[in-house]
Symmetry: C2
Subunit: 253 residues, 2 copies
DNA sequence: CAGTGGTCTAGACCACTGC
DNA sequence: CAGTGGTCTAGACCACTGT
């Protein structure tokens, strides 16, 4: 029986070519990122051991280790003690999507930012466990007087009692929370919906128009802070993300 | 005149409390992430200098430096030579969105994956500079025989001539490209569209139904490889992202 | 020009794990 | 149990930058 396992494979002749640009650990990282990106190293292939790279590159172990750890953090390789470092299998991939605070986003586009609170109401939720009292807000954000974002928000008054005293007539609740309430965990969901009657009226679009909906739930420890639905007319808003070469996991083209 | 500038502010008494769990550099990183998350340290505040932390924590500079560099990579702090490390201002934030290979995503949900190539055609694009010949594909992905994803793809035959000889009848083009073509850069756009007649027919939904559209453009160096539009019925597909505590930049609740 | 972070070295000990 | 990566130390020199 052949004892050579597929994941033990290591390209026999692997000259590491550094580009001489920037810090040494970054050059090493880029060199392997290039090889992986170009399929010169394939998923499952073993990289040289740290001590081999230390010898061949005539450097110290910290420098090599830093390069390989960066690759591991980016998901390009997997490191296992006693076994070595291996090119990661490619299944899913993650792309960073940037979601801006409405005011910044609109002003960055060179437009005049406008804000209006449409409604504010205290509620006692029928379902949900943690919150006894909830503040519900509906707000409209405009760019050059044109509605571009409908915000439906629920704030947990048990966790944020001070919110009950705020009118939110001048300051959007997102910005108020940002300044006043600490949080440490958030969850996002992006989906597409057809505008219902109320949404369509607020955004001055036809009912049924496709809209992008971003749901964000925010926690502080175990306590739920707020849940917000941001509804953008689909043709006016796009969320964009970009890879930087060799800095992310690979995926399906 | 008072020479103390606002960004020079540093909380005078800043006891760093480590939780004693895990590597030291990680404990230090978490300690400051906690302080920032809880607004104990506010945007613009200066963190202690490296040499101060080395003294107060009785450790080495490499360890402190590694913790602070991790915070800088996560966007929680900004580091400036000669000035110090400061809590970052919070404007936008990024959330990682996971986009799976259709087959994996459907099979992970415990459903039967199905695939059908609807059309394949060579085209000569009227606009666009880099590609003279383009292969256009329309494919349908199903879960338990139900259409869940329409894929419209364009492949640059100048960069990937081998694609012309593939039928793509059994193997989705995304998986074929993943196995055969290296790439190193990708750009994503997420938007909402109403289904047109053709899309609605393919996905067996009513025309005008809101759909989530993910556009991905892929490059290898300067050469464009492929552009794909993935169209999901809005109610069936959500893209989800999540923060891990203290590992990401802060933003608007 | 002085003080900060950025990088690097040559060691060390330890935890885990595959054999 | 031997070999790998994970972490850490106590130094060093350098680049940048604010004053």
């Amino acid at each position: 029986m052949n004892s050579a396992k597929p994941w033990m494979h290591c390209v026999p002749d692997m000259p590491i070519t550094l580009d001489g640009d920037g810090p040494l650990h970054e050059q090493i990282r880029k060199a392997f990122a290039r090889k992986i990106s170009a399929r010169d190293l394939k998923p499952g292939d073993r990289l040289p051991f740290e001590h081999e790279l230390v010898r061949s590159l005539n450097t110290s172990r910290m420098t090599v280790s830093r390069a390989l750890q960066a690759l591991a953090e980016d998901g390009l390789i997997v490191r296992r003690r006693k076994a070595g470092s291996f090119v990661a299998e490619q299944t899913a991939f993650e792309t960073p999507v940037t979601i801006h605070v409405p005011r910044n986003q609109i002003e960055a586009a060179g437009k005049r930012y406008g804000y209006k609170r449409l409604s504010k109401a205290k509620m006692t939720p029928v379902s949900q466990g943690s919150a006894n009292h909830v503040l519900h807000l509906v707000c409209l954000h405009t760019a050059d007087e044109k509605p571009v974002l409908l915000e439906k928000r629920w704030i947990n008054l048990d966790a944020v009692p001070a919110a009950a005293d705020e009118t939110f007539k001048g300051l959007p609740p997102g910005e108020w929370l940002l300044r006043n309430v600490p949080w440490n965990e958030a969850e996002h969901t992006i989906s597409a919906i057809g505008a219902d009657e109320e949404t369509a009226t607020c955004l001055q679009i036809k009912p049924g128009t496709a809209c992008l909906k971003v749901d964000r739930r925010t926690w502080s420890g175990d306590a739920s802070i707020t849940h917000v639905s941001l509804i953008y007319p689909g043709d006016q808003m796009k969320l964009a993300g970009q890879y930087r070469p060799g800095q992310q996991a690979l995926s399906a083209p």
